[in-house]
């Protein structure tokens, strides 16, 4: 009926959303443990936020927080295996959007970690996706996103001026 082909999406956190069906991400290789949930949509958390929400289409309550670890100054690069590049039809690295899932402890959100061992790889054009399991000893499932020095709100002491406290405000 609708020429733009939008669907109405009920979500627990974001209310009722109208999304274009062309923005739906389809997992060819599932998120492990969620084999029956293949369709998601990527929602911005807020302007300038490093986070996005991967909202399940058919489960209003289910949304994963995802991020690009490079926003947190984490050095993150890996080779995508041939099966995945073929499955997702990735010709170059630029074809892929890589996101990692974020685990946020309810009682201590600043101790959030991200899973670098099982990244989500998405073809930017087709929006076909896969959770890839890396066989790479450099990566773990619980890498802290925020280092202890960055817990500025929690610390009662001033940060040591000898240490670089902020990577984003270099002294002139």
């Amino acid at each position: 009926m609708n020429r733009m082909s939008t669907i109405t999406l009920e979500t627990k956190r974001f209310g009722t959303l109208e999304i274009e069906s062309s923005t739906i991400i389809r997992f060819k290789k599932p998120i492990l443990g969620f084999e029956d949930l293949r369709e998601y949509v990527l929602l911005n958390h807020a302007d300038d936020s490093p986070f996005k929400w991967l909202q399940a289409i058919s489960r209003p309550d289910l949304a994963f927080v995802v991020t690009n670890p490079q926003f947190f100054n984490i050095d993150y690069a890996f080779d995508i295996d041939d099966d995945t590049t073929a499955l997702l039809d990735l010709k170059t690295a630029d074809d892929a959007l890589v996101l990692t899932m974020v685990n946020i402890p309810a009682d201590a959100p600043q101790k959030m970690t991200t899973n670098l061992l099982g990244p989500l790889v998405i073809n930017k054009t087709s929006l076909h996706a896969a959770q890839v399991v890396l066989n790479d000893e450099r990566f773990q499932t619980k890498t802290p996103l925020i280092s202890d020095q960055q817990h500025v709100g929690e610390s009662t002491e001033e940060s040591n001026p000898a240490e670089p406290s902020s990577p984003s405000v270099p002294s002139p």
Binding site: F14, P50, P109, M112, V133, S166
Partner: protein
């Protein structure tokens, strides 16, 4: 030798309960078929759409090298990695994360979430001062 048919006799059936017959248990995925294979012999796993071939390539002590041919849509994982990532995925939704909690957790962190362009803009602002 061993025929890979459910009706063939050399297939052992181990069950968790030992109460039901093998057919019922297999439907419940609680049964383990135990097959003996030699080097270069294969096992085929088949559904009506997909076929997976597993071949024993080499045996050295307690290390067995397997070759696996499967369609691309079938994931092949080392079990320990699979379990770890699955647990991590499930923990990622377990916290009922509230969007406001997420914003507050990072709002005071310098440099977090800023794009390179923003960092550059900030740098220029500092230098102008």
């Amino acid at each position: 030798m061993c025929f890979l048919s459910p009706a063939a006799s050399p297939i052992e059936i181990e069950s968790d309960t030992g109460q039901n017959n093998g057919r019922q248990l297999r439907k419940q995925s609680k049964v383990m078929l135990v097959l003996t294979r030699k080097t270069n012999q294969k096992i085929i796993l088949s559904t009506h759409t997909d076929e997976v071939e597993i071949v024993v390539l080499d045996v050295k002590g307690d290390a067995i090298k397997l070759g696996i041919k499967a369609p691309q849509n079938i994931g092949i994982y080392r079990e320990e990695l699979y379990a770890e990532i699955k647990a991590s995925n499930q923990a990622a939704i377990g916290t009922e994360t509230d969007p406001n909690v997420l914003s507050m957790a990072v709002q005071d962190l310098p440099g977090i979430g800023q794009t390179t362009t923003q960092k550059t803009a900030q740098k220029s602002a500092v230098q102008q001062n």
